[in-house]
Amino acid sequence: MDQVKDKPIAAPPPIATPGRRLHPLPIRVMHWINAATMLVMITSGWGIYDDDVIIRGFHFSSFWRLGDWAAWSLNWHFAGMWFLVINGLAYLIYGFVTGRFREKLLPIRFKDLVNTIVETLHFKIAHDDLTVYNAVQKLLYIIVIFAGIAQVVTGLAIWKPVQFSGLVSLLGGFQTARVLHFLGMAIIVGFLIVHVALALLVPRTLWAMLSGGPRLARNSQSNQAHPAQGHTI
């Protein structure tokens, strides 16, 4: 992919298909599978949590729990994990192979981050161009992707602490792995609240995740990051 930095020798030949959408179909499908799966994993996890709480006195009421008691919360969790892992792997592979991660989430500049935060505090939230994520958005997406990966790793440690005993000791023991798994959930839930609130405030973003959103300009940097359209020398 390094060669794409160089200027193409010839102008790109016209491509028969119109420009890519902001959210190509695979992204939309994976996004909504992940949304449903995350809700299953979070609410069934709360059902499992309630049997032996980490924070004394803190329970999730039955309204928020998936599964009418621990056995079925466990069964939901252990069924949902397959969707989370397979869909998540597909998403990661897609994000790296198509260059979407590099194109949408990088680079994050510290100055931009500060500017966005200051602007947000002054209630100046610019959403004219959905195709460009601001620095805070980029950072939050990266954090939640890592949190999702961390949940799979800590989950594996809790599920199979003998088969993966090396991983468990790396995480600081079984009970620490449990707490980390709980913290990972808290980060994802925190993201979810902000993510859903902003999507509802700017409904165009929600519609874009359903319909695909605006078409990207042909000569945007995304062209170069996309191997299908990128040009080698």
Binding site: W72, F78, P161
Partner: protein, 257 residues
Amino acid sequence: MKSPFRPDVVPDKSVLDDHRPLIRSLERRGLIRGGLSLGSLVMLTGCDVKRPEAVEAALLAFSRLNDGVQALLFDPNKLAPTYPASMILRPPKFNAYYDVMDVKPVNAETWRLELSGLIADKRAWTLSQLQALPQTSMVIKHICVEGWSYIGGWTGIQFRTFLEHVGADLRAKYVAFKTADDYPSSIDMATALHPQTLLALQYGGETLADPFGFPVRLRMSTKLGYKNPKWVTAIEVTNTYPGGFWEEKGFPWFAGL
């Protein structure tokens, strides 16, 4: 000897033929009543039934798939971490489907360990006979499906040694247990043969106390707590899936760590 895992009296099959019309009408009545009560339940609570049959069937299908995956992940030579004896929790944590006050102690004089199924020598065992077999100790973590854990020290007979001693068919799929507290349980043969699977007689160097399974309980480093039956009274080696107390209520069967 008759297997303790089968009912003593089996009704004659001809009974079914004699009463077939009656059975059919009962089934019909039950179906109508069931449908009505299910409907009224929905109206009473104002919400839908929490676990529709199709959802339950799908979840159980995943649970069986996971049993298979866990059996593949299980490494028969992988040992669980062990700890120094100083870390043993005394007394261990009591946990059962009833309160510790309701434990009914087992009389060691009359207690026998009965054997059945694919075992060559099915003679019952007394406690002193078990005590005469070579003993092994391990200090391992007990992990409950609920999430809590503690370190316990167990001494007893390696279950593999016992199974070989009585001539069990080690190619069979399952080993099933019956207990004095009506807590049937079963495990896969690979786990039964794991070096950290013991018929435990002692905890922390002392005879097992009554609440923790005296005289004999199963103790495995590679399974969740609920897979370890206490007050074991009978063992069967079989190729027929035996299930277990919590498994019948929906918990996963393999429950490997």
